[in-house]
Symmetry: C2
Subunit: 429 residues, 2 copies
């Protein structure tokens, strides 16, 4: 064994971190981080958005449900019942796959051919994205995404070294006409939010769903279908999920190429962190192995409590209430946008969900608009972060679920003034 | 845009997955997984351990707390109080860092110089291990661990491509005499469980704590101190944590090289999945970025509920009760081992925690012993999985917290018979 000083040891890669004397030692953390951590830098936008927590700022920035609709009494009574009847189980370690009765219920609700082995409970859909990244993505693998797309999915997949192929969207979702060319670069996965997309609010048309599924099969590229908002449709007929279209060809044992994610965050409460994945059984098994290392299992109390509520008809009564309130808020926001925003500004008209998407005239920078908006006590998320391959500087996302009607009217009026000023400034540059 | 068949496109890496006709298309998942997923194979042992869930099997295999000690009434009343007073916050999305009052409380309890910025709440300590792997480990990085060590840490770090340098342990923990040589290979991190280690039950002596810290500083290698059991000491004086030793040199702003993990899983209830990390503020910030992509935040209800209990003196009264029951079970298990196990079998005498460690005579294979034991309705975890660099075939882990006294007496008697038979068989081979 060598007892030489590490400073004189050529083979010791830590030599640069050696300092003489205990009190002067400083661990240089920067040199210790993994390469992937370099992609995790905090953003200037996130810093700006901290101002949205000030009490007099009207924020359309977050993706938060309306807290006044949380069924607090129902959750309190279900929790009390669960703890009194089965407290030991609700407080003990549980299986990584999730609470079996909840998985059974979700399998039933998913329809044929899904069984318990196809269902994994996750700690929010964000964890499902992380686990999918973990089991599928090698550094440099390309993921085909809508542009814009959910920034949290990019964050999850960035950690595994993902690169992106971005397919533009219009009012009917991902433009599938451009898809085949993109598939020729050999993407590893397709990631798509077909219903009331975050951030754009648009919904993938039925024709495009069929095209997307067809192409994904022809090119052998699995689809991750992220569907947190599907149940929050305000009008029009529900469209079949990509999962259900894929499942038609597997009446006995699902072997399709669509992996589906959904959550109780938007229909019950996000603070419980209970979501689920529907996948071919062999993919579900890999996700279970990844989840064992990630958090062992999702909180037992939360899963049993969600099951206690979901097995009754409570959500059948509760979700329509959410739909009604959010529809009113969307209607009001769209009306106020039409009243207060300058000509040349466009926005989407979502048929459900939590968000709409605003496109400012070319040349405007929504990040600068945000800075001005915060001074006027209104906030939103600039769109650029939702474009993994650049672009979208003149776009922004507005959330309409979390603000009340008075805030929506006042906030959009403020936003209108800010954008008028920005356009004015642009004209005088 | 090319419309040619992908089968004729040389550049299309997906060509192998193309099959003619929708109904015959099969997605070949095996070729889709990331390289890291190859290291996630399920184990034969895990399959065997499923038998431990049969009602008449006495299991010393799991790492489960005694559910009869869960403070169900206290948790029920805290939950009811939280939901009635602050239901909207408890059910809403929360900050990734964790619930601020809980972080403040943990900072205070950590003593000087720790402040809220040093504390991150995680979804169990397992998540902390995953996040630390994510921010620190590049594929091929070597992690210095005790041998044996916690298999869940290996699982978390394997996913990031970790390799291991294993330092043998004795009854006083990691043998620090061997440490300096190992540090010459340039490990990225040191991972250690100083108190009542999982799986061995041994505690790192004070002298070795000082040596370990000193060497880690001299070689600039950060330490991850995993301390889930520290509060469950049955006898003897508590030893200072590596964190507290490191903190002495930073009275104002902690810049030490120890990152500390602990949890409410063993003092309150594991099913809540609430744990915490103490780290230099800049490391905590990186962990927050990683956690955003991993699960956004730990369940709000669970954090607020834990705070509601932890801010009172309830745990000061409750934890001594856990200590007393576990001490009685350890005493009984050690007595029964002495009464029933053949000569030549050795075991550790843990001063706390949940586990003790048995070493069978050389030549015995604990995996074969487990197979025979399950037939005799008793189970444990064979030790080999806790050795990342091989070895330990003749070792096994026994949990004494989860079984009641009757089960401990019967189970160890059964185990003794099985091991006698195994030794007999070995003699006749």
């Amino acid at each position: 064994m060598s007892l030489g000083s590490p400073l004189t040891d050529e083979n010791n890669s830590s030599a640069a971190f050696y300092f003489q004397g205990r009190h002067h030692m400083q661990t240089s953390w920067n040199h210790r981080y993994a390469q992937r951590t370099q992609r995790m830098a905090g953003s200037a936008i996130r810093e700006l958005l901290k101002f949205t927590e000030l009490p007099d700022v009207i924020s359309f920035a977050g993706g938060l449900p309306a807290p006044e609709l949380f069924p607090v009494a129902e959750i309190a009574s279900a929790t009390a019942s669960v703890l009194s009847r089965m407290g030991s189980q609700a407080l003990q370690y549980g299986a990584t796959e999730g609470y079996t009765p909840l998985r059974e219920l979700l399998a039933q609700q998913s329809g044929a051919p899904f069984v318990t082995a196809n269902i994994l409970i996750t700690t929010g859909s964000q964890q499902a994205l992380d686990l999918l990244g973990k089991i599928f993505i090698n550094p440099g693998d390309r993921i085909l995404v809508e542009s814009p797309t959910y920034v949290g999915a990019l964050q999850a997949m960035n950690a595994y070294g993902a690169e992106y192929v971005a397919i533009p969207s219009d009012d009917y979702g991902m433009i599938t006409e451009n898809l085949e060319e993109a598939l020729h670069v050999g993407p590893k996965l397709i990631y798509v939010l077909p219903n009331f997309q975050n951030p754009s609010g648009v919904t993938l048309s039925l024709e495009r769903r069929r095209q997307l599924l067809d192409l994904s099969r022809r090119y052998g590229v699995p689809i991750i279908e992220d569907d947190p908002y599907g149940q929050l449709r305000f009008e029009g007929d529900p469209l079949p999920s990509l999962l259900s279209l894929a499942a038609q060809d597997y009446p006995d044992d699902y072997q399709g190429n669509v992996i589906y994610l959904s959550t109780f965050s938007k229909t019950l409460a996000p603070g419980l962190r209970v979501a689920w994945v529907v996948a071919p059984a062999e993919v579900a098994r890999k996700l279970v192995l990844a989840k064992q290392g990630a958090d062992l299992h999702t909180a037992s109390l939360n899963q049993i409590l969600v099951h206690e509520i979901a097995r009754t008809d409570f959500l059948d009564r509760h979700v329509p209430l959410i739909r009604q309130v959010y529809r009113e808020r969307r209607d009001l926001m769209v009306t106020e946008l039409a009243a207060h925003l300058p000509p040349g500004v466009r926005w989407t008209y979502p048929q459900g969900g939590l968000f709409l998407w605003v496109t400012l005239p070319e040349g405007l920078d929504a990040a600068a608009t945000l800075q001005a908006a915060i001074a006027q006590k209104v906030a939103f998320v600039p769109g650029a972060a939702f474009f993994p391959c650049g672009g979208g500087a003149n776009t922004l996302r507005l959330n309409f679920s979390n603000a009340n009607p008075v805030q929506i009217s006042q906030g959009i009026a403020r936003l209108g003034r800010v954008i008028y000023e920005q356009i004015d400034e642009l004209a005088h540059v």
